[in-house]
């Protein structure tokens, strides 16, 4: 972020934390650290991608950003206002300005409602317009998501639409309130590869036309490149690396980001001839977060006595041409880790 522009971020999470108790045995409970101290800042009209695997806390973070979930620690600000602990009633103005598009277009639309009813519902909840005015607004929203002519779709039911069309109805439902912020939680992961590009292009166009800020949650870092100029990579409840998406892909700093990138298949007939370099194992449960750096049990660059002991603080990385806004939480880049590498190199 340039220093000249000091606007108030539209959405800001400070040290956001969601811990909850889960019963493990009859008399024993454990703490599940779904989200474990995360800072996120999103300006008006900006798009930030949040990349991570299941259990990384990305969906929890998204739910906190919409205040569908109250964080157990940290703060949430929207347009400068602290909304961390607002009651449902007092959140209503916020809910009009912040909307969500969700992963599964098959279950996130009520199958007993027509497309018109689905898209109109937010207007009813927020007591916006009436009769004809509402109808016009619903048609406008459907037209915006390229369900054209809107009249053809109004009286249909979700099951009569393709996956891509259903997801566009989900977007129209969010758009009908003309929100400033949209959480897009894996909006294309359940859609055919061939329709993904269409949905992403549509979301991009809407952003330009209406200056919407997006938090784009995905497990697919390749889509992030085509959607968000900035990306944050999450692992086990934390952001481990953040920066401009293209730089992060061209030169990933965190070993986890490197592993994530190596796992992405690109259409190349040579792929079949060799095995991929993959990270060993799977992410542990957020109920058993490892000590020190939480990635250390799977890390190829593990430094004994450091990574399993000390939790790396995020370090800002200078891209050479001045601040690039890249941060990484890894001992390869902390002072302690650099000393360690220097001494072992001698």
């Amino acid at each position: 972020m340039s220093t000249a522009e000091r606007e108030t971020p539209l959405l800001r999470l400070e040290g956001a934390e969601v811990h909850f108790r889960a019963r493990e045995k009859l008399f024993r409970t454990t703490i599940v650290r779904a989200l474990d101290g995360v800072d996120v800042s999103l300006n008006q009209g900006e798009a930030l991608a949040l990349v991570g695997e299941s259990g990384s806390g990305k969906t929890t973070l998204g739910r906190v950003s919409l205040r569908l979930l109250e964080p157990t620690g940290g703060r949430v600000y929207f347009d400068g206002e602290d909304i961390t602990a607002l009651s449902d009633g007092r959140l209503k103005p916020f809910r009009k300005r912040a909307q969500g598009v969700f992963q599964d277009p098959f279950t996130s639309l009520d199958s007993y409602m027509t497309i018109r009813q689905i898209v109109e519902e937010p207007l009813i909840i927020h007591k916006i317009g009436r009769g004809n005015e509402r109808r016009e607004r619903v048609e406008w929203a459907l037209d915006e998501v390229r369900m054209r002519p809107a009249g053809d779709f109004l009286d249909r039911y979700p099951h009569m639409l393709s996956g891509g069309q259903r997801q566009r109805v989900g977007i129209a439902r969010a758009l009908v309130l003309t929100p400033e912020y949209i959480l897009a939680d894996e909006p294309v992961s359940m859609i055919d590869a061939s329709s993904r590009a269409e949905i992403l292009t549509l979301l991009n166009e809407l952003q330009e036309r209406h200056r919407i800020a997006y938090l784009y949650i995905t497990h697919d870092i390749a889509t992030a490149r085509h959607f968000a100029p900035r990306t944050a990579v999450m692992y086990l409840g934390r952001i481990v690396e953040e920066g401009p998406t293209k730089e992060l892909i061209a030169d990933p700093l965190h070993p986890y980001t490197q592993g994530l990138l190596a796992a992405v298949p690109e259409p190349d007939p040579a792929n079949r001839l060799q095995e991929r370099d993959v990270l060993p194992g799977e992410p542990p449960s957020p109920a058993q977060v490892p000590t020190g750096c939480r990635f250390h049990p799977r890390c190829p660059a593990f430094m004994d006595g450091l990574c399993d002991v000390a939790d790396p603080v995020p370090v800002e990385i200078d891209g050479g041409d001045g601040g690039t806004g890249r941060t990484v939480a890894c001992h390869l880049h902390t002072d302690a880790g650099r000393e360690r590498q220097a001494s072992s190199g001698e």
Binding site: S162, A193, S194, T201, E282
Partner: protein, 334 residues
């Protein structure tokens, strides 16, 4: 465990396979005249959108048919022997799972929660009562080792395993009767990218070490490239382009294949994403002529009138059903 399938001809030879379902408004032509071959130890990917008929193709091969089947014909030969006409009893006895097995999409969700994992892996053996239980369990342990499941998972219940481990167990179950061909229907669709890459590595190893042939069904042509020696692109119940992976991925000739490839978000390219406007056709009443013509940017008169036959691509070995490849019709340059 030795390399399987060693006859000279192709392992699987499919010709003009059709599977229609009876529907309220006429037959749904899910698989409509599909032909291809898979050599021993080779992988062919079937790539297509949902509703293109790729899963129906698998069900047609395995004779796993719903009640409302209207048409199920064509010829299918496995290692030279025709298997299409076998009775259900013979097919179950000799072919299904024994020679052709399948990893179903979402199979991990259908594991039985009340039985131990090892018991379920052994089930294809125990259900056939050919071996005593303890022997079947021994074989199951061996196959679980083959798919890199730690020995202790044998006595675990499905809910105690991660998604990736459950998928490995499902794969072991598909391999335990030593089939020569396994059908993989979106075998990684519920998995994270990291685990997906691990499972794809496992398939590569099984292919290399066991000579296991596979039919890999996926909607993701990028993922297909991770395993496939050849690729068949399916659209509206038909194969529209088929050939070696090199040809189909590097020199796609059918406009649908070209669009499919251009729609993939690339990690290291800024080419703007392209997409295929419109939706796949209704299979009860597919478009006259080329089935892709309503969505094709290059469609001309002939495409709306006549279904294109299979043409050889200008370069390489791939073939495609597209009038653009016909030397006699003035084809606009793609």
């Amino acid at each position: 465990m030795t390399a399987r399938g060693s006859s000279d001809g192709p392992l699987l030879q499919v010709e003009d396979l059709r599977l229609y379902y009876a529907g309220e408004h006429g037959d749904v032509r899910a698989v409509d005249g599909v032909s291809f071959e898979i050599g021993a130890g080779e992988t062919m990917a079937i790539v297509g959108e949902s509703g293109s008929g790729k899963t129906s193709l698998a069900l047609a091969l395995l004779h796993l048919l719903p009640r409302n089947v209207a048409v199920h014909d064509g010829s299918v030969a496995l290692a030279g022997e025709s298997i299409m006409e076998l009775t259900e009893g013979d097919f179950r006895e000799r072919v299904r799972w024994r020679q052709i097995s399948m990893v179903f999409q979402g199979a991990t969700e259908s594991m039985n929660p009340v039985f131990k994992v090892g018991h379920q892996v052994a089930e294809p053996l125990t259900a056939r009562k050919e071996r005593p239980k303890h022997e079947a369990y021994e074989v199951a342990r061996e196959y679980m080792g083959l798919v890199k499941l730690p020995p202790e998972t044998f006595d675990r219940y499905p809910h105690e395993l991660s998604g990736g481990m459950k998928q490995r167990a499902v794969i072991a179950t598909a391999l335990i009767l030593e089939p020569s061909l396994v059908i993989l229907d979106e075998p990684t669709s519920a998995l994270d990218v990291g685990v997906q890459a691990q499972i794809m590595n496992l398939f590569k190893r099984l292919k290399r070490d066991l000579g296991l042939a596979s039919l890999f069904i996926t909607h993701d042509i990028a993922l297909a490239s991770d395993l496939a020696d050849s690729i068949a692109v399916m659209y509206a119940g038909e194969i529209v382009e088929i050939g070696p992976s090199e040809d189909v991925l590097r020199r796609p000739t059918h406009p649908y294949t070209q669009r499919l490839l251009a729609a993939i978000p690339r990690l290291r390219s800024d080419d703007p994403l392209q997409f295929i406007p419109g939706v796949p056709p209704d299979l009860t009443d597919p478009p006259i002529g080329c089935r892709f013509h309503p969505r094709c940017p290059f469609a001309f008169d002939r495409c709306q009138e006549q279904a294109p036959p299979t043409f050889q691509a200008a370069e390489g070995e791939a073939t495609a059903r597209c009038w653009l490849l016909d030397g006699s019709s003035r084809a606009p340059r793609v």
